[in-house]
Symmetry: C2
Subunit: 415 residues, 2 copies
């Protein structure tokens, strides 16, 4: 398949972009190649699309189900009882609903952590997006659960050839307060053996640090270092409550952090120490977290909040400028997950979106990236192309009505 | 003129809404009145629309022109030189651009502070929105300027009958650091004499408080109290840096505060003491500030940030729930400016919007207000009705293309 995008704004000039199979073959004005699909880029800009590095896709089903509660009550009285009712069919359509939202708002990849690995993978695969799907470990310090979950993870990994190579398996121990040391060590070894990433929630709350100090006599990052868990393949979700020594450990082990500002604010979890982490050259990527704590998957909204939150909490309005947060939401995420995209360039994989420059939020157009980060939201996305395939054109996703009606039908039976 | 909205979601049930002239006459299922306009409300919800209580509409021209700078550099090197080039024609189309964005995102009223009073008023009047337009006082402690600006304000006020009663004149002394005590006292007396509101920036930065202490030996609110400025007709924009005594003064004088969270974050200005102000029963309304520091006028985005910022900074995720921030953005603003709307009820003025429940951000629909505040943004607005007139239907505003092309044409000559 080939796609020719005519007369689109890219790198501050009008140009054509020619895509063959899943690669960007040529970027130049007046390309004359024939193509299966020709897209008129007039009034649009081509940008890389977004890499959402931490979410729980199927939890889009819980959007608006429970808000404004303290975390324990929110989880125990609302979210967990709701989740307990979910079937594989619910997860399938819930994940598709999340994918729909991502396609509509320009996200091409997400790193997911949820139950129902195969169902999730199938839904993402069918929707045409990229994902790093965690095989969850959450043994609650129970040896039998641990064995069962390890077995499941080995299966998930071994069966990945069922799915497109847009999908990658990730080992996903939930957290240090829900996963035994044995499981964590197994996860680390399995990740090493298979070359996959390790994805864990860490230091989201101050309580987690206190509990870790009590239990292990060490702070969370120190504990993970001690058991040999840390390395360049590790992604910590949240990582808010770090002391100086922990930041040094993260730096020296080349560990990565997924920053989730809206969720951190909404749950009153805390503030990422953006300035210190940046000074230490730690790789930061952006994510939305799940819809239970955000309550959307809009990476454009997330970019704005990430930037203005850092400005407020450092007292420095020059911190985290638009270009930097845009890079974090695109290039950094793609690089971390080994995807040869995240920027638009000849030879790169054709992951890109077209945004509508005629939308009121883009007028006037003094500065494209500023408008994108500070003025716009996900609704400016007009066309979404992932791995050389058109997933949305002129705002239309083929299965949108079906997905929404299936979700509505299923939730009637749950509520 | 009459409007009949059929089968719309309102107060958790499907109903019809009948509007005659500028009033909501009847809310009930199966209304059979004939109407000039019939709107199919299927798949939509009727909500009050938003009241943006502090902005600088024409500054929408500066969207993305300058970001990520320290405030002095931002103003002196970027914003002020740009503004110095603006003509009345620029302001006219800049204000229309702001109105366009507000109509598209469901805002029905704004409180504005900018130069070119008559031009602004004309633009708003033509667009069909409501506004409280400040006659600016910014004398920089120069007696001649003061006299000239007082004369202008008297003229602005006396000529208000030129405009629709959707518009109200407000006295707008810019701030205590740009306006002389004489001007402030004149403003207070003129507001008393005419029954209009008094609108001033106050305690946006810590520096402003320090400077005030040096100059007057008092904090800003104490200074304003001393000169008799404060009362129930006063709206303080920002009001971040308040001590306990100032909060007491604000409370006992029934002074109101316009909360502008995104601007406060983006400029690193500080944090509104939401919790203390709420405990003191001080009226809080919401605003976006201008596009130079936000960079949009989307009140739905502003609601989310207001809530999650309060949750983060108080450490309490139950603070500022969705219903409360929604009321602040609607009812509180309407009441403050004496507009008989802000809620949808028989006998109220017909200021309302229809939102699209089929938008991905509204699926699933466990809770309408939660979805509106935490998941959606301004793009879910489908229909905008202000003072009984339809300003947008099915997302279409008549003059949209003209306004955008005029803004683009004019800015070519400025840059």
């Amino acid at each position: 398949m080939s796609i020719l995008i005519k007369n689109v704004l890219h790198a501050e000039q009008q140009t054509d972009i020619y895509i063959e199979k899943n690669l960007i073959k040529k970027i130049s004005p007046n390309i004359t190649n024939k193509a299966d699909h020709i897209i008129d880029g007039t009034g649009k800009a081509a940008i890389p699309g977004f890499y959402n590095t931490h979410t729980h896709a199927a939890m889009t089903l819980t959007r608006g189900f429970s808000d404004d509660l303290v975390v324990q009550e929110w989880l125990e009285k609302k979210i967990w009882p709701f989740e307990a009712k979910l079937s594989a069919e619910d997860i399938y359509w819930g994940t598709k609903l999340a994918c729909l939202e991502m396609i509509k708002t320009g996200t091409l990849f997400f790193s997911d952590m949820y139950w129902f690995f195969n169902t999730t993978a199938q839904a993402v695969d069918e929707m045409g997006l990229r994902a790093a799907i965690s095989g969850v470990l959450l043994d609650l310090f129970d040896e039998a659960k641990m064995k069962e979950q390890i077995k499941q993870n080995e299966q998930f990994y071994s069966q990945m050839e069922k799915f497109s190579d847009r999908l990658q398996y990730v080992v996903g121990p939930h957290s240090i307060y829900t996963v035994s040391e044995k499981s964590l060590k197994w996860a680390k070894d399995f990740a090493k053996e298979t070359g996959c990433k390790l994805h864990i929630h860490l230091s989201e709350t101050e309580k987690e640090v206190k509990d870790c100090l009590e239990k292990h006599g060490k702070r969370p990052v120190e504990y993970l270092e001690e058991i040999g868990f840390l390395g360049p393949n590790v992604i910590l979700a949240h990582a808010l409550w770090l002391d100086k020594n922990e930041i040094d450990i993260i730096q020296s082990n080349q560990v990565n952090i997924a920053h989730l500002p809206i969720s951190n604010m909404k749950l009153s979890s805390g503030v990422l120490q953006y300035n210190l982490l940046k000074k230490s050259n730690i790789t930061l990527t952006l994510g939305t977290d799940g819809c239970a704590s955000n309550n959307n998957l809009d990476m454009i909204e997330e970019m704005k909040v990430a930037s203005i939150l850092a400005k407020l909490t450092t007292g420095d309005p020059t911190i985290f400028p638009a270009e930097e947060v845009f890079e974090m939401a695109t290039k950094n995420g793609a690089e971390l997950f080994g995807i040869n995209s995240g920027i638009i360039k000849e030879g790169k994989v054709a992951d890109l979106i077209l945004i509508n420059l005629d939308h009121h939020s883009m007028v006037p157009l003094h500065n494209l990236i500023s408008n994108l980060v500070y003025s716009a939201n996900g609704n400016i996305v007009d066309t979404t192309i992932c791995d050389g395939k058109i997933l949305m054109k002129n705002g239309i996703v083929e299965d949108e009505d079906l997905i929404k009606s299936e979700v509505r039908r299923l939730l009637k039976n749950i509520n």
